[in-house]
């Protein structure tokens, strides 16, 4: 996993590199955080403006929610790092199964 300690035994070997990486990561996190606040504001705005049709609002805020989840997973929970292939596989498979279930419930169940 990417967050494991260096195994070389000498802690100073890639300290410089790590520091640079951390700064970079911090920058991404701040940017994503700002973006997420912004997306949340847009979502509130979309609901707040009453004259937009629900057929636009609901898919739109769902889309914003999906983007936020992706930000959360990739930038705050480090899924963008190497060594997360198995969690990614299971996450996406689970999402697919959940999506199929919801899709089926919305389309083929008669009420």
């Amino acid at each position: 996993m990417a967050n494991q300690q260096s195994t070389s035994g000498n802690p100073r070997v890639d300290l410089e590199y790590r520091r640079k990486k951390n700064v970079e990561e911090m920058r991404y996190q701040v940017i994503t955080f700002a973006l997420m606040i912004f997306l949340t504001l847009i979502a509130f705005a979309a609901v707040g403006f009453g004259d937009v049709s629900n057929w636009f609002t609901i898919p739109f805020i769902l889309l914003l929610a999906v983007v936020q989840v992706i930000f959360q997973l990739y930038y705050f929970m480090h899924m963008s790092h190497k060594g997360h292939e198995a969690p990614q596989l299971f996450l996406y498979s689970g999402a697919l199964v959940g999506f199929l279930t919801v899709l089926a419930f919305m389309t083929i169940i008669w009420w």
Binding site: G94, T101, I108
Partner: protein, 623 residues
């Protein structure tokens, strides 16, 4: 450590098993508990077949027949087939990947005890006012109308044992992803490990649907909700969807490990590398993937509409392709192999045509228009018994013979094993082949009797006679087990002589820490590779060092016991004043045990290098 070889009293052994977190002992627990439930489900099957042997029979009443039929299905799927598969997964998979134990030994034990208490709870219904009687599918429109507490036993019992299954599935996923020995890449894993992996992923994704469905059912029946009641704005079809979103992957959860067991057995006794290994892996994953898109083929006649029916029909038929790949790979593995017809190999050879027959009727049933004819007839009964007995049960019997030496250090008698095999195979085909025709002649499933002079007498009589063959076969297997255990002739690492995978490189039964040094895996069938180079054992991948071991714990038992007690409280809450306090006491026991587990540090212990070196003296003869 010398304590391992000490003779112990009965109480000490019992306490050892109640608190064990060792995957090999948990495997034995699963085998015993699953075996008992298998016999129970078998007895229920015998009652069914005796009742249906002749027309207008009154061996059992209609109501009791419904209970027996429901409990036969539920017991066999949830409490026999799956735990028995877990038994072999626990016994073999950590060894096959060269691990010291599963990733979460504590959870492994918790999973077993949850299953066990769930199963006991379900079966206590026989003594407490009647068993569930709405079929193993327990469709909500029927189960909500069922009187008494039968369905509550079903929903609460399956909920508890379902948690156990979910825990076990996650445990195997983590184990296989993280604990493979050095060199054991994904594409070097034995097929049984691969199928366990995919089946565990299916458990992870399928069981939540069952959990949700059963929660709804429990709340509808006991806590006044109306999820499935159309008169109150609910919808009864939701249960069917939730149940089959779980239920269809469930049959792959059962059959995939069976495929894995047979793949290993066939390549072992054909003394050949498995033909088309990578296509086998691909087919396994594809079956798992497609398994989630076909659940509505159980509901063709519910009225989903032609488009949905067509999509699910095509998706269902597509599954025949990866399954066909597997069938041909098994045949090509045997082709040109130097085949040794041991008992497990006999099961494997018989499995191929038997399972193909079940598969072919599966494709027939997948054709939605034709399904309107087959629906709810004995044709369906014949189909799913052909895949479940012809696939899963044959694999369980084969694995019992194949892995018995690895689990207990003794060989089951081959002669008795072959008698069991022939009786069981003949009985199985005798019982279920003719049911295809009974179904086509119009005999509906789940009826408690039939009228004379409708052409159904002979078929049903033949079917019942076949069931007795299977019963006798099972009894002979039990006799075989008793004889073998009494004789207690110990065998070495590789009693079949042709072991290919890592589990045969280690003593039978393995020492409690499994591998003294993790083995270095140099390719597919690692033990075979070493043997072909004239070596007797695996090359170690690490120097001898201290081994970290988990401590045993009684907490899993207590957590499960708490839920067991709480289930009684939940069920009798509306009838008696003591219901609610009991519910609360049960939950307090469960959460209290979890709390103790959370705050109490339990770091396990180390086996020191010196002790491991002492063990070298009595290697191979360890009990």
């Amino acid at each position: 450590m010398s304590t391992n070889a000490q003779k112990k009293g009965f109480g000490a052994v019992l306490w050892d098993y109640l608190t064990t977190v060792d995957h090999k002992k948990i495997a034995i627990l699963y085998l015993i508990a699953g075996g008992i439930f298998f016999i129970l489900g078998g007895l229920e099957a015998m009652i069914i077949r005796i009742q249906l042997a002749i027309p207008d029979n009154n061996f059992v009443s209609a109501g009791f027949y419904n209970e027996v039929l429901t409990m036969h299905g539920t017991t066999m799927i949830f409490l026999a087939a799956m735990p028995l598969l877990f038994a072999f997964m626990n016994a073999v998979v950590p060894l096959q990947i060269g691990a010291r134990d599963v990733a979460f030994p504590f959870l492994n034990s918790l999973g077993f005890w949850l299953f066990f208490f769930g199963g006991v709870f379900l079966n206590l219904s026989w003594f407490l006012g009647g068993a569930p009687d709405a079929g193993w599918t327990s469709y909500a429109s029927l189960s909500l109308a069922s009187e008494g507490h039968g369905i509550d036993f079903y929903s609460l019992g399956l909920q508890i044992s379902g948690f156990g299954t979910l825990i076990a599935g996650i445990n195997f996923l983590v184990t296989i992803i993280n604990m493979r020995a050095p060199g054991m890449t994904y594409m070097r894993m034995p097929l049984f490990t691969w199928t366990t992996f995919v089946a565990s992923a299916l458990i992870l994704f399928a069981f939540p649907a069952l959990t949700v469905g059963i929660f709804f059912l429990t709340f509808d029946r006991l806590f006044g909700s109306n999820f499935f009641d159309p008169t109150m704005g609910g919808n009864t079809v939701i249960w069917e969807h939730l149940f089959w979103i779980f239920g269809h992957p469930e049959v792959y959860i059962l059959i995939l490990p069976a495929f894995g067991i047979f793949s290993d057995i066939i390549s072992t006794f054909s003394r050949k590398r498995l033909f088309g290994y990578s296509s086998m892996v691909f087919a396994t994953v594809l079956i798992g993937f497609l398994g989630f898109m076909v659940w509505a083929h159980h509901m063709f006649t519910t009225g989903l509409g032609p488009i949905a029916n067509a999509i699910f029909a095509v998706a269902t038929m597509a599954i025949a392709v990866p399954t066909g790949i597997k069938i041909f790979n098994w045949l090509f593995t045997m082709w040109g192999g130097s085949i040794k017809f041991t008992t497990p190999m006999l099961y494997a050879v018989a499995f191929v045509p038997s399972f193909v027959m079940g598969g072919v009727t599966g494709v027939m049933l997948a054709a939605a228009p034709a399904d309107y004819q087959y629906h709810d007839s004995y044709f369906v009964v014949a189909h799913f018994h052909y895949v479940i007995i012809g696939g899963v049960v044959l694999s369980l019997l084969a694995a019992t013979h194949f892995y018995w030496p690895k689990m207990f250090g003794t060989m089951l008698n081959e002669f008795l094993g072959k008698i069991t095999f022939w009786l069981f195979l003949i009985g199985f085909h005798l019982t279920f082949f003719i049911q295809h025709f009974l179904g086509l002649m119009g005999m509906p499933r789940r009826i408690f009797t039939f009228l004379p002079n409708q052409g159904l007498e002979i078929g049903n009589l033949v079917s019942s006679i076949g069931a007795f063959f299977m019963a006798v076969a099972t009894i002979i297997l039990l006799i075989n087990i008793v004889i073998t255990s009494v004789k207690n002739v110990k065998v070495g690492n590789d009693p079949w002589g042709d072991g290919r995978t890592l589990e045969w490189a280690i003593a039978s039964p393995p020492p409690y820490y499994n591998f003294k040094q993790l083995p270095l895996v140099r390719g597919l069938d690692p033990y075979w590779i070493e043997k072909m180079e004239g070596k007797k054992e695996m090359t170690p991948a690490e120097p001898l060092g201290d081994i970290h071991m988990p401590n045993g714990s009684f907490i899993p038992f207590m957590i499960s016991l708490g839920l067991f007690i709480a289930a009684f409280g939940a069920m009798y809450r509306l009838d008696y004043g003591w219901g609610l306090p009991v519910l609360i006491i049960g939950l307090v026991i469960t959460f209290g045990s979890m709390f103790v587990r959370s705050i109490k540090d339990d770091h396990g212990y180390h086996i020191h290098k010196e002790e491991l070196m002492d063990d070298d003296d009595n290697k191979g003869v360890k009990a």
